[in-house]
Symmetry: C2
Subunit: 242 residues, 2 copies
Amino acid sequence: MSVKCINCPLRKSDLFHKMSSETLEFMQRFKVGEMEVEPGTPLLSEGSNAPQLYTALSGMGLRYKLLENGSRQVISFVFPGDFLGLQAGVMKEMTHSVEATTAMKLCVFDRKELWSLFRTIPDRGFDLAWLAATEERFLGEALTSVGQKSALERMSWALARIFRRLKATTPAAGDLVRLPYRQQDLADALGLSLVHTNKTLAKLRERQLATWSDGKLSVPNLARLEELALIENPELPTRPLM
Amino acid sequence: MSVKCINCPLRKSDLFHKMSSETLEFMQRFKVGEMEVEPGTPLLSEGSNAPQLYTALSGMGLRYKLLENGSRQVISFVFPGDFLGLQAGVMKEMTHSVEATTAMKLCVFDRKELWSLFRTIPDRGFDLAWLAATEERFLGEALTSVGQKSALERMSWALARIFRRLKATTPAAGDLVRLPYRQQDLADALGLSLVHTNKTLAKLRERQLATWSDGKLSVPNLARLEELALIENPELPTRPLM
DNA sequence: CGGGGAATTGACGCTGTTCAATACTGGTGG
DNA sequence: CCACCAGTATTGAACAGCGTCAATTCCCCG
């Protein structure tokens, strides 16, 4: 039994723009169904031309690129409310892969309808451009972090960004959020070795800026963490929900 | 005297999609004028909400972010045909700055008309989403290069990408293209120090894979350079011209 | 002729990598 | 019930790629 868009639990979060009832109706028609996947399931593959687009409803995932030499760059973490497959939607193919890290529930859309979306509801077309521009924004910041910051600063940056994002859409108890990734995932996201990632996390723990163990991240003093991370604009903008 | 879109010299390049005559007419109306700037002129600033959008007609520039600690990440190089200001157009503000490196000529558009573009010419709205998705694609690749590759591989990656892009839109004599940046610019793009950038360039020169001096880049064997750069998909896709 | 920006080169050291050993966990099959 | 195993986290030690410091050269421009 598929959730109706009008009852979508994500809409309760202040993170997302309010949707007009017409838009809501359109999205309901655009929506093909729902999908539940196990941890480790590939959702989209680099080079493929996926026929489907998704919005993550629950669970978490990873976007990444693989190199011939075996290394992996994690492009970003996928959280509830994120839209997946935009690249396949507007270009011919994906340039990175996406997979589920935990069990996930996803809202499924038909890629073929994307064009009608631009034609019939320009607002939504604009929203898609907005989303793509936001990805660009995020990746520019990630590139800056990996290119210019020390390991400790990078790690602080990632944990601070993740913490704010998760507090906005997942149940959080005080300064604790669930973060069910492996240290290797963070390492691949930040361009660090696994060993040094571990040691850097230990430093943040000693300094009582961030503690991440057993799948739970605790940030007792977000402002100080963001300061160390050289984050200039900590608030995350509200965004459209597809 | 402003160039009419229909006579735009960039349209001759195979790099860009063909434009319908209706689209061409719309763009002509969308176009406010032209701008010529000196080397070093700031075009868009991080944090600002620029009222104008640009398409680079000639000359070259830089997109970059500055950190509090004084370091600079070059996000990408700006070449003829690139569209500038999309972020300011769809979000409230720019998240990086853009400045002219050489003298540039730019086509100027009015940001306020962007919304009417989505409404009246959905094709162009789609093209904008396409452009944003392409930026995302590029930045994902840049992040992967900076995060996972050695200095030599990164440098090869940058020079190979730049070389192909420049051959597509600027006059090139054989394996020679004009590349009027400083080594510091490349260094800031790749997350390397200036000194190591210099030494890495020397290595590429010794190996006769790429020679960049006096503002001119020569790549005698592109395939080998791209192989060293771990580039999986070397051809650059054709793209919309705004 | 003087000065500032850019490129080049050598010496040295630090940040982060690689190698390796240990411990802890949950899952599996005897 | 327990031995076994694979995946993950942790920690120490040695090493190296790249950064920092510094000096020199070249070139353009005033």
